[in-house]
Symmetry: none
Subunit: 548 residues, 2 copies
């Protein structure tokens, strides 16, 4: 994990435009994304490291998890370097004073400097979904904003369904946003909640509101028409100074505007300095890490940060690429921490290896860097990835360069057999007995046999290994797996595709990630586990070396 | 597969805008896409059924596969209903008359009515990559166009790198496109080859050329800045009458403009009648089928055609959705052949269950809905999730309400044992032999035993099951797993935490998701697999029921 202090300090305030990250709220509406409080803290820290201005943490009071997140943040556990944390919630309920609204009180109790309130701006929704008189909806908006500002909060107002509202009932939609702005909302955010706004809808409308409203104007687009990023850019050109989006465009249905794409477009193509260049250089890494935390992958075709975003397949490009990369690339991949990939031919990137090796305290010369790079390429082509598996990369580097000769490996895996029974029916599978493993490893020239029973094949292997090496490395006692992720690659080939296992291990203080790839999920798991143990056993020694 | 003849005839010519499909050329530049001639014929027929105006088949003469494709097409094997087939190629070589250029001759030999020629329009490329005098490049363009039109061909001209060329060397780029148009190109296509054009670059530039050029103007965008669709739309608003794109946005790096999104945006939101409505209703099916042919999957978040494009997660929406679907949807999902999906989660209320049941064609009364909800909540507390597992929810619903009594289950799982060996070392694990499974299921009261070998325990189980039920349900032959995801819950407990497996299955047209949860990853996988098989076996019957 890179030390954030090694990077440039972030400007405050940002260059006339605020990036507002709603991954932790809108992003989690993506099917299959379910973040623990711990996950939420980790995602927030990553977005903070990138340098966004605001991080929306969720809806305190709406569910226990979000309430717990804000409590831990308020207790100093989040420790954001730069970003301002925002609590999200709804305007007061109908027919109830703002002061007595329990949901607004929960927002206050979240102890953030900024609160983002959402309210209805489409008359149809006020009539049919909310079922309150339109005047009351206006009062709900204004009262809620006034109440929170009177308590010293800075308030943003998300005008839900604003683009649909304007299209079908323009006067009322404008009344709502005007009410919010006049009541003291610092920023009024025009939301395309259903995601169907088209680029021709944006510029004039946003420009008009930038002119008319006493507040600043923000944007919140969804991608149902495939235009969320472009709509955001067009709105910013028209004068909006706040833009909401999510990491990798996570979000309900087709997703939210991809904040990473917006950032890179504006900074590299519009000349806005939203984050220091050395932060932008971490974009790819942050994209992939946040995706992993959300149990997703960054799509390989994602602009800027995707695995293939700077891939060149056509052989005829290669020489031109070497001579003048700007001929075939819209930006420099290094500016966003990505890299050019050529399907044929050797390429630059050796300097990356040298830098990374230096960071890990391993000396590599030019020839070794070339060998490492070739090995990385060979393995990446077979499905390995080192982006989210630093500890495995570290081992690869040491093995290929000879800094970890085979003779110094703490153990050598010899054989295992795992057996699993089940299938009787869902409830009674436990009666089938645990998974069993028998494992042979070689330690200091001696063959050691271990047996393990566990809840599954990986657990059984883990126990068998510990049984086999029992007592040899006491530091292993403190180590346990904190996460285990499996992904099938070349997915359309089904179960006989290659399986990639990522294992996160911890001793309670440090955390390290390892990777294994194999057609067999058990073998892939074992490869990742082996690296995790080896790292656990050797890292104390390496840390001393690296510090010298 | 739907019979194309059952659909409306296609208008000729289309409504002032031509959709030009380049899936078979630019789309195949996507890593991992490699189409046989047969595949290419099938993709072309699908795009034709949708109703695009032009289908670019590839580059005859550049490789034997494309040459064979055009030969078979010319022999009548392709039999397009509506679209015009286009052959793609380069302008003549430097210093050689067009009449004597073998590549141009190969284009002529492809026997298409239309030829699309690509030429350089960025001076920098002419100087550095091509290395010919700029005047010669102009002559290469004009001569080639004139030569082909003199032979009775209709010619389109793809102005490569036009947007970069204009930005850095505008006068020359304009000279090139003018030369092509004046030489007789019917359409001059402005290509954003490197994909970095921003929406603010498009309207004025395209509008100016629409005014200035004697030809019509086309567009060809790539998605490196995340704006390919919006840029296409903006260019069309500015007067372009031809737009190039690919199925599902397939293409090199970040992909090409997604022709499906452009079509739906223009037809449903701009009122252009590009294809008959009953063709547009096949968009989702065609998207998924073409993706399969290309060994890809349609991303679940793809606008209009993705699996989650019309999914609704939040419980509070459900009652409003039933009352007025246009409140929460930018278009009617049926218009593009997709469907609304309610995502069931612990946040859902009873009304969500009732609606979801109605969607699935299962009658549930209030009391049953309460029971189902209680069961969903109980299971979610134990780690199950139905958000991304529609098919498992469907089965849960039917089982809990008695609509699928135990006696009607197609099979009952009895027992399995799986054995995996490995660990020798990374490279030689294959010599340990495959994973082996033995599985017993009960079908119609009879115990059936099956054996399977596979690359891993899940693969082995899958094969053992198919072996056990061999031939009983032929529809299973078309079913395969397209994705497999594993997540460890309560991750801090390490490998003995609960494991959640999500399995995506497909028969090439439909896609369904199932879930299994168990401490043992193999058992969790088996539970998800069982549901996937049960769904595959019973769904035909249920679909009929739902239609009644």
């Amino acid at each position: 994990m890179t030390d954030a202090t090694a990077h440039s300090p972030l400007p405050a305030p940002a260059a006339g435009l605020d990036l507002y990250d709603t991954t932790l709220r809108d992003g989690t509406q993506r099917e299959g994304v379910s973040l623990s409080v711990e996950d939420k803290l980790r995602v927030a820290r990553r977005m903070d490291e990138l340098g966004v201005a605001y991080i929306e943490g969720g809806w305190p009071g709406a569910n226990p998890k979000d309430t717990a997140f804000f409590a831990r943040a308020a207790d100093g556990e989040l420790a954001l370097e730069h970003a301002t944390l925002v609590a999200f919630g709804m305007t007061r309920g109908a027919g109830r004073p703002a002061e007595a609204d329990p949901l607004l009180q929960a927002l206050v109790d979240a102890r953030t400097e900024v609160i983002c309130l959402v309210g209805k701006s489409w008359g149809y929704h006020v009539d049919e979904a909310l079922g309150v008189p339109r005047a009351e909806n206006l009062a709900m908006v204004a009262d809620s904003v006034r109440h929170l500002t009177s308590l010293g909060k800075r308030v943003f107002f998300d005008a839900e369904h604003f683009f649909d509202g304007v299209a079908r009932d323009g006067a009322y939609a404008r009344e709502v946003v005007t009410a919010a702005a006049e009541a003291g909302a610092e920023c009024v955010v025009l939301c395309d909640t259903n995601g169907g706004a088209m680029p021709w809808d944006v510029a004039e409308l946003v420009g008009g509101l930038v002119h008319d409203l006493p507040s600043s104007v923000g944007l919140h687009f969804h991608d149902d028409g495939g235009c969320a990023v472009a709509n955001s850019l067009l709105g910013i050109e028209a004068g909006a100074t706040h833009v909401q989006g999510t990491a990798n465009g996570l979000g309900e249905r087709c997703g939210n505007a991809n904040l990473f794409t917006i950032l890179a477009d504006l900074q590299l193509k519009r000349g806005l300095r939203l984050v220091p260049p050395d932060r932008l250089e971490r974009l790819t890494e942050i994209s992939h890490t946040v995706a992993e935390l959300c149990n997703q992958t960054t799509p390989s075709v994602a602009p800027y940060v995707g695995h293939t975003a700077f891939s060149h397949k056509a052989g005829l490009h290669a020489s031109a690429l070497a001579k003048a990369p700007d001929m075939y690339q819209h930006v420099e991949p290094e500016d966003v921490g990505n890299r050019q990939r050529l399907v044929v031919s050797e390429l630059a990137g050796r300097s990356n290896i040298v830098l990374k090796a230096r960071e890990l305290g391993v000396a590599v010369d030019d020839e070794q860097a070339r060998t490492v790079l070739a090995e990385v390429k060979r393995r990446e082509a077979a499905g390995w990835t080192y982006e989210a598996a630093d500890a495995s990369f570290d081992l690869l580097l040491r093995r290929v360069t000879g800094s970890l000769p085979a003779a110094d490996e703490p153990f050598r895996s010899r054989h295992y057999r795992v057996s699993v029974a089940g299938g009787a029916d869902e409830a009674s599978a436990a009666t089938e007995g645990p998974a069993e493993a028998i494992l042979a490893v070689e330690v200091a020239g001696q063959r050691r046999l271990g047996a393990g029973e566990g809840n599954g094949p990986v657990d059984a292997l883990d126990r068998a290994f510990r049984n086999a090496v029992n007592g040899t490395w006491p530091q292993l006692d403190r180590v346990h797996l904190s996460d285990y992720k499996v992904r099938v690659l070349e997915a359309s080939a089904g179960t006989d595709a290659v399986t990639r296992v990522l294992v996160t291990s911890t001793d309670g203080v440090d955390v390290w990630d390892t990777v294994g790839v194999h057609p067999n999920v058990v073998e892939a798991s074992w490869l990742a586990l082996s690296d995790a143990y080896t790292h656990a056993i050797l890292r104390v020694h390496w840390q001393q070396t690296a510090e010298v």
